[in-house]
């Protein structure tokens, strides 16, 4: 099917929000990242708001949105409500981050983290449609989740290293970012494997398109090299450099490590976008009798 850019951008930005909040939630539980939580929550909230606005461009009649209550069982309705709840929680957390309410911050931080784990899964689950075999697997929402964790956590780790207590919290932030990147690699590859084994195989949605066909350049360069290998290498390198040197204090400056993290985040974003472009490319219906 044609690339649905508003939905694609929405899912990527929503992923960033998700990863940010999972990072912040873990930080709240461990009593870390207080110096950056306002800016982090602001970034997460802005991503969600911009993504939500962009997704509206996909609709022919957004002014009829009141009818969205017409079928609460629809994946799109569930997605809308989850986004709305996430928006409220992130806004409350954003306000709390400016004040000193440790208990409330922890509650909303953890709530945000739980929603951060749920949100990409709900958004991805909207694509679980039997008519599009290349989408109809739990691997797709998990791929959304993995990409979100990598994008959000690398961004947050960079922020901690640049603006937070880098010497005390930098190591933990880098480990979280590396974990997010590893989850992204595993879930992205799982989705690619699904494309290979999906039912109703057809040339338009075959793995050959990715491996050696018209999508090969995008897949090998955009997804594998830039989207998976580069963030993994950057996150691993940052972790190693942060623990080497005299007394395990690192061999490079935190700002340099922050650069590694921002680069890993940018690569993850590119990979997430390209993988979604491929997802739409192979998302053909079982039969395409009149329209493609």
């Amino acid at each position: 099917m044609e690339i649905q850019w508003p939905l694609l951008i929405f899912s990527v930005l929503l992923g960033v929000t998700s990863g940010c909040f999972v990072f912040l939630g873990v930080g709240e539980l461990r009593g870390k990242f207080k110096d950056v939580r306002f800016m982090s929550a602001l970034i997460a909230f802005v991503c969600l708001a911009v993504g939500g606005c962009v997704s509206v461009l996909h609709m022919g009649h957004p002014e009829r949105a009141t009818h969205l209550l017409g079928n609460l069982g629809s994946g799109l309705s569930k997605e809308l409500f989850t986004v709305a709840i996430m928006g409220i929680v992130s806004l409350v957390y954003l306000i709390l981050a400016k004040k000193e309410y440790p208990g409330a911050s922890k509650v909303f931080g953890v709530l945000g983290a739980v929603l951060g784990l749920v949100l990409p899964v709900v958004a991805g689950a909207s694509y679980l449609i039997a008519a599009r075999p290349a989408w109809d697997s739990a691997a797709l929402p998990l791929m959304f989740l993995g990409g979100g964790l990598a994008m959000g956590m690398t961004l947050m780790a960079g922020l901690v290293l640049l603006r937070g207590k880098a010497s005390e919290e930098g190591g933990f932030a880098l480990k979280l970012a590396l974990a997010g990147v590893v989850i992204m690699v595993v879930t992205s590859l799982a989705y690619v494997i699904w494309i290979a084994m999906a039912p109703y195989q057809a040339p338009s949605r075959s793995i050959e398109r990715l491996v050696s066909g018209d999508l090969a350049v995008m897949f090998w360069l955009g997804v594998v090299l830039v989207g998976l290998v580069a963030p993994t290498a950057l996150a691993a390198l940052a972790c190693v450099k942060a623990t080497k040197g005299e007394g395990g204090t690192g061999t490079v400056k935190p700002s340099t490590l922050a650069g590694y993290m921002f680069a890993a985040c940018a690569c993850s974003v590119i990979g997430a976008v390209v993988l979604r472009v491929i997802m739409y490319g192979v998302g053909t219906s079982v039969e395409q009798f009149i329209y493609r």
Binding site: M59, G60, R64, A65, G70, S74, I129, A131
Partner: protein, 190 residues
């Protein structure tokens, strides 16, 4: 309970495209948009044992329509008589139903005055007046039949009883349109 379907005797279909043309006229379907199209299946086999038939396709008015399940506003709905329709006053043009259709027979009309989903209506405006859908009424080979699948005396039930019948690939949606084909082998499962 009435379960209106369209049954198509492919052995009688001459591939004249009358159904596609009259559908456009009856429903004022715009340029480049189709509710109904006639495809050519084949030729297949090895000379001199070649096979070819015509396959008219449109909304299948499925028994378990995924387009209805996924519609966030309830704009896509199934009537009690089996016809699947889109209420344009509720349609937000999210195209979720287009994604959910296994056959690619729904389309988004991007025209700024519309911005809604278009598809075959089984000429609901005609059947509500006791008439047949335009494609059925004007089929010169009388290949297209309309009626209640639960009534053994209906045209569709009689055709189903006397011919080998086939349906398009079913991914749980249970397509309603029934194709009759005896002369050639059905290629729909390939």
């Amino acid at each position: 309970m009435t379960r209106n379907i369209i049954a198509i005797d492919l052995d009688s279909c001459i591939g004249c495209h009358s159904c596609a043309v009259v559908c456009k006229q009856e429903n004022n379907v715009g340029l480049g948009t189709y509710y109904n199209k006639v495809l050519t299946v084949g030729p297949s086999g090895t000379y001199p044992d070649l096979e070819m038939y015509y396959l008219p396709v449109a909304c299948q008015h499925c028994d378990n329509p995924e387009c209805v399940h996924v519609c966030p506003t309830g704009a896509s709905y199934k009537r009690e008589d089996g016809v699947v329709l889109v209420d344009h006053s509720k349609c937000i043009g999210c195209q979720y139903c287009v994604m959910a259709c296994p056959y690619g027979v729904r389309t988004y009309d991007a025209d700024k005055d519309k911005g809604v989903i278009e598809k075959c209506t089984m000429c609901a405006h005609l059947i509500d007046k006791g008439e047949k859908p335009a494609c059925v009424k004007h089929c010169p080979g009388q290949a297209r039949l309309f009626g209640d699948a639960d009534d053994p005396e209906s045209d569709v039930s009689k055709m189903i009883a006397r011919k080998s019948t086939h349906k398009l690939k079913d991914v749980g949606n249970h397509p309603g349109v029934t194709y009759g084909l005896d002369k050639f082998s059905w290629k729909g499962d390939e």
